[in-house]
Subunit: 141 residues, 2 copies
Amino acid sequence: MQTVRYYEREGLLDTPARSGSGYRMYGPAHVERLNFIRHCRSLDMPLADVKRLLELSRDRGVSCDDVNDLVQGHLERVRAKRAALQALETQLGALRAQCDAGHRVADCGILEELIHAAQGEACACHPEPHGARAAGARKRA
Amino acid sequence: MQTVRYYEREGLLDTPARSGSGYRMYGPAHVERLNFIRHCRSLDMPLADVKRLLELSRDRGVSCDDVNDLVQGHLERVRAKRAALQALETQLGALRAQCDAGHRVADCGILEELIHAAQGEACACHPEPHGARAAGARKRA
DNA sequence: TGCAGACCTTGTAGCTACTATAGGGTCAAG
DNA sequence: CTTGACCCTATAGTAGCTACAAGGTCTGCA
């Protein structure tokens, strides 16, 4: 419910009329608009994109290239993120495989991996060694 | 650089000694710790998990089951998110296919889809009618 | 010695899309 | 008339930074 107020504050929903005691009175147009927003959000579109779509859909005569670009751009961001997560999954799988249950932290392959990697060595999760471009830290001592 | 200060504030990095004029003086232990954190972050682990790992790695005699669980849990969250994004990609692809470039907003298949969906009808991106839709966790049967 | 410019310090606000809480007002039922 | 469910506003918190402001410090050069 605060979400609806939030959309109103952000300019995605028209401010509804108020009853005598200050209650918001929503009409069918508000409900439809809210469903539009929720549908876009279910596609994980940022609210800025949703707002842009709402603006575009008011000018029914204008070219819809912007609509295309917006959806296409969003699709590409989703694709890129999915690919990144897929790589991450592989890396975490490799890390996870370093340790079987039942022993102690001193012998834990996962922590070993993480600590070695922190020292700039190669690790199971990032096959290539870190060292090439590490050591960016500025020190004075 | 503010990031390092942020980690210090959040208790992930020890507060370094200060020079006479108040400058922070980092030693090799700080650098190694920071690399540990950055490595974990490159695996997209939340800072809370990184902090937990740092705590666990201090008690070298304790069981490492917690380390396992933490990494396993993170892997599962990544897997779930990746799967959700994959489904999303399909949905956005379907939506994107509703419109070819070069015509006007009044005839735009994408907007049509979104508006129809806002009225509770079935849409290309969400094959089933609106009622059965739950955010992100849905599987096609 | 003076000064420019690069770096450091602290503190604050902004980003996304909500969510939670506090402290109050309104309304309908019993 | 009270109880409890709802609504109102305003504020703060979430994650992990990033950007900016206003000032202090250090270094090199003339």
